[in-house]
Structures are given as C-alpha cells and as structure tokens.
C-alpha cells in the first residue's frame, strides 16, 4: 500500500519527492536510469519568456558538502518548453511543475498566462535566482516586490501558484507572508545561498560569474530552519528543499513543516537519490505504523 502519496495544494502526488528545478532538466537524461513515473513530480528547469544562453563557464565550483552554480537560467524559452518538452513529459505519469522566471513583473505574468491550458500541474514562480541580473533575487528580497509579482501572476494563472523563496534575506517569514497575502497557493524554499570560491593559484574566482548559488547538504540546516519558520508563519503549504540527500533528511524536512520535498544537488552525486528517498520514506511509514506520510508534516515538537 502506498503510504507516501500526498495532496499538495490540491494536486495529488504519488509521493512527495520531486527533483528540484535546474537539477533534472526535463527528465530526459535521468530517464536513462529509471522511469520518471517513480517520481512524485518534476520541477523542470527554470523557463523564461525567451531563449536564454545563461552565464559563461565555468559555472560550477565544488564546496565542502556542496557546490556553487552560476548557470543563469539557460533555457530554450517557454514556447520550446510547451511545444517540445511538455508533450514528452505528459506521457511520463508524473506531476509537472513549471518553474518560471521573468525579468519584469509583466514577463512573469505573461509566462504564467502562456502556461494556462497546458498540461502543467502547478506553477513555481522563481523570485530567488541569484544568478541573473534582472528579476530573480531582486524580486525575492523585497516584501513589496515579492508581493506584487505574486499578485500579477496569480491574477492571470489558472494553475496552483507556488512561489519559490530566496534564503538570502533577513526575514524569510516576512517574504512568505507577503506572497501568501498576495495569493500564493504555496511556497517552496530554499533557493541557493549566494557564495563564492577563489582559485588561489590564479587568484581569480572559480565561477566566471564571480559568485554563484550554494546548494547541497551544506545548506540543509539552514533550509530546515527556514522551512520550520515559514511553516509556522503561513497557512499555505510549504515545499521544502535545500540539501536533502537521504530519506532521513526528507523526513526531517517534513517534520519541520514541508508537505513535499524537492531534491537537487544530491542527484549529481547519486542519480538514484530521489527514488531511494521515496523508497526510504515508504519503509519509514511501514516500520513506524504511519498510515500516510502527510501525518508527520510539521509535527516537530519544539522545546
């Protein structure tokens, strides 16, 4: 019996494990390892209105228990996503979360509108990309702007709207409350922490973009803290991510308040990570007499 199906924000997921945007492309590559139907859903690579080339390379630097990336939202644009990727994805028997990012409020709304009538199950509005100059983190670090862009997208979309928050802020709960007040149906967090590495031989930053987004196990404790704070600050569901690598991590994130989880950088170390995590959660429920994983969401008892 499946004990790990969840209803997140009105959408039924067969399990709460979803590869994180930007770490799984559109699933084509990882399908060579396992059928995508094993996944609760896929949050696809961030989509912009037009094709974007992203930042110059190198775009990755290793860090202790983590990595920096500075991809900068390279993607083929929303039309390519709708016409080329989506028709393939809909055949895979998994939920599809469209991750969208615009440089202006209008662009975000236009992107969302374009996805109306498509097979996309949910929109994840990325207001937290640290690797682009316009939009991105600029949207996600100011309550008013975050609220405004949420409102603009909510006004036009027919899909459940999840807003993806930046951890690079003084108070993530304020941002979460603002997007909730402006119509967000859910929030997802955390996006990457801004970081830097320098090559001491060349005395140049390893990333051509100088700085990049930190993810992987290193950020896990920060992510758990933020998910816990946000889950206690808003009524809408929270999708938790940031450093999840094992099923134990996923359980910890759900105890903190996440109704579902995304798994990102851990996939690079182990392509099977999302599948193993889902299997581990099912086992955890069986061994602990938990009828459905949703029962544990937010049940951490603070001291």
């Amino acid at each position: 019996m499946n004990r790990i199906n969840v209803n997140f924000c009105g959408v039924e997921f067969k399990n709460p494990v979803i590869p994180a945007s930007g770490t799984f492309g559109y699933g084509r590559e990882y399908e060579q390892f396992y059928p995508l139907s094993k996944l609760g859903g896929i949050s696809v690579k961030g989509t912009t209105l037009h094709r974007r080339e992203g930042n110059p390379g190198p775009r990755v630097a290793e860090t202790p228990s983590g990595m920096l990336n500075s991809v900068g939202l390279q993607n083929g644009g929303v039309d390519k996503f709708i016409n080329y990727e989506l028709p393939n994805l809909v055949t895979k028997d998994t939920r599809i979360i469209a991750n969208i990012a615009g440089s202006t409020v209008e662009e975000c709304a236009e992107l969302a509108e374009k996805l109306n009538g498509t097979a996309v199950d949910m929109i994840e509005l990325n207001i937290s990309c640290p690797n682009v100059k316009q939009g991105g983190a600029a949207f996600g670090t100011d309550c008013n702007v975050a609220g405004a862009v949420t409102r603009a997208v909510k006004d036009v979309t027919e899909k459940p709207l999840m807003v993806k928050l930046s951890p690079n802020v003084t108070s993530i709960t304020d941002i979460a409350r603002s997007v909730e007040a402006n119509g967000a149906d859910a929030v997802s967090l955390i996006n990457t922490l801004l970081g830097m590495r320098i090559d001491i031989k060349t005395r140049r930053p390893i990333l051509k973009n100088n700085v990049g987004g930190l993810s992987g196990p290193a950020v896990f404790p920060v992510a758990v803290r933020m998910v816990w704070q946000v889950a206690n600050a808003v009524k809408i569901p929270v999708m938790g991510m940031g450093g999840i690598a094992t099923w134990e991590d996923a359980i910890e994130m759900m105890l903190a308040g996440a109704g579902a989880v995304q798994v990102g950088a851990a996939i690079f170390a182990d392509p099977y990570a999302p599948v193993k995590i889902a299997e581990g959660m099912q086992r955890f429920c069986e061994e602990n007499g938990i009828a459905n994983i949703s029962e544990i969401v937010g049940t951490v008892k603070p001291w």
Binding site: G22, T23, F24, G25, R28, E29, Y30, Q32, F33, K45, E53, G54, P56, G57, P58, R59, V60, A61, E62, T63, P64, S65, G66, M67, N69, V71, Q74, I206, G216, P217, A265, I267, F268, A269, D270, P271, Y272
Partner: protein, 257 residues
C-alpha cells in the same frame, strides 16, 4: 543507457609520478562504451564526481581503463583506491569519437594527461593510426607501449627534449602532415594545443575532432553547468561538454583567449 554502480578494480598501476592506471570490471559499461567517452567517478568525501576519460575498453574482459593524474584533493583520494576496491562510477557518458570506416588513416594527438583517450581511438585504426603525444619531460611520459602494441606509429615529444623529440606536438604534427595527410585527426590536451591543432587542420582541410574539458556536476546533460561556446552555421551558442561533447568537431569550437 547510462549506468551507475560500484565496480571492482581488477588492476592498478602507477604509470608515472602521480599518474595511475586502473582497470575496472564493469561488463555492462564496457559493452556499450566507445572511445572518447568518459566516466563520472565518485571520490569519497567529495561532493561532485570527477570526469575521467575512458582510456581503453576491453569488451571481452568486460573492463574499462581509466588513467588519471593527481591534480587536487579528489584525484588524490581516488589514487588511494587499490585492486579489489570498489569504485563508484557513472558511465559511459558523452558522445565519443567518430570512427571512420576501415582503411582510413588517423592521427591521434595527446598532450599530457590528454593522452589517455587516444589509446581507445588509436586502437580503432591500428596500423593506420599515428599517435603523437607530448609531455613536460621524460618522467611524465605515459602509455607509449600501449600505442606501440596497437601497431600505431608512435611519436613522442617532450618540452625539454628529455625523451623523444624536443618540441611541441604541433611541430611533430606539421612534420607528419608534410609526409602524408590523414583522413581524420583526434586531439585532447590543453586548450592552446587544441586551438593550434584546429588551425593547422583548417589550413590543411583535414577533419579534426577535439575532446574538451569543463567543470561538471551531473555529467549527463541535465544541470547545464559544463558550458562551452560553439558555433554552427555561423550561429554562436552554448553547448555542454558532458552531453554534446566531450568530443566536438574542431570547427565548431570557439577558442577564446
């Protein structure tokens, strides 16, 4: 199909100071692997896998060989793996070299630790291959017996003349071209070497494939970090070394700097 697993190391040799040659028993991978492809190798304690070219494939024995140099902490950790240890790899990755039909002639050029992938491709041509490889000095020289065993014409260069010809592989390459033009050229090594070889091939109208390096995360084409600038039909765009490469037609690569 990509495969991920922990496979036993069946032999390990030091080829030069800090350069190791490991043979891995992984029949499913060996069966599908082609020269020029690579493996993403996990180094214990490090978050990202290390991309290492497949040096040679023995489909009968079900093994592949990886030859790598200790460059940093991760490859240092890999060098601690011994015979009978398990090594965690994802392979075969990338596109591999294009192999021409039987009878065609190839020149395979390797610079330093760019030499290993030349073993697999030279093997496809046997006596029709000429391998030019260059190293800093005599003590860094590797894999010459492998090339000889294949039956390839084997030309060795060192920067300081302490072994083989004193000079760069590009000089030896030009000298070869004066004798006979090959049908194809394969090259792997430092960017400046690849750039120069590309230029020579262009001037001589020879088809050339180069194997590029870039820092990687997923290794399979999903994360888009391993970018390189390429050009096709006059259009510049970003390609990805792990999936569109690591082997590119030299004409399509934009060498800056």
């Amino acid at each position: 199909m990509y495969k991920q697993g922990k496979y036993p190391i069946v032999s390990k040799k030091a080829l030069a100071k800090g350069v190791f040659d490991i043979e891995i028993y992984c029949p499913h991978i060996a069966k599908e692997a082609r020269a020029g492809q690579f493996a993403q190798v996990a180094a214990e304690g490090f978050f990202l896998r290390r991309p290492i070219s497949i040096c040679d494939i023995d489909k009968n024995k079900g093994t592949i060989r990886l030859v790598f140099e200790v460059r940093g902490h991760g490859t240092d950790k890999l060098s601690e793996l011994n015979k009978d240890c398990l090594i965690d790899i994802i392979a075969p990755l990338g596109n591999g070299f294009k192999v021409l039909e039987k009878g065609k002639k190839a020149i395979c050029i390797g610079g330093g630790i760019g030499t290993p992938p030349m073993v697999g491709i030279a093997k496809e041509y046997g006596e029709n291959a000429t391998v030019i490889s260059g190293f800093r000095n005599a003590s860094a020289v590797i894999l010459q017996e492998d090339f000889k065993a294949i039956g390839a014409d084997t030309i060795l260069c060192t920067d300081d003349g302490s072994a083989g010809i004193h000079g760069f592989v590009t000089d030896a390459f030009k000298a070869e071209l004066n004798k006979e033009k090959p049908d194809i050229v394969y090259a792997c090594g430092p960017m400046v070497m690849l750039k120069n070889i590309t230029k020579i091939c262009e001037e001589n109208g020879i088809y050339c494939q180069v194997s590029l390096e870039q820092r990687m995360a997923c290794g399979v084409g999903a994360c888009l970090v391993c970018v390189c600038r390429t050009v096709k039909d006059g259009q510049e765009f970003n390609s990805h070394v792990c999936k569109d490469g690591p082997v590119f037609d030299s004409k399509e690569v934009l060498f800056h700097e």
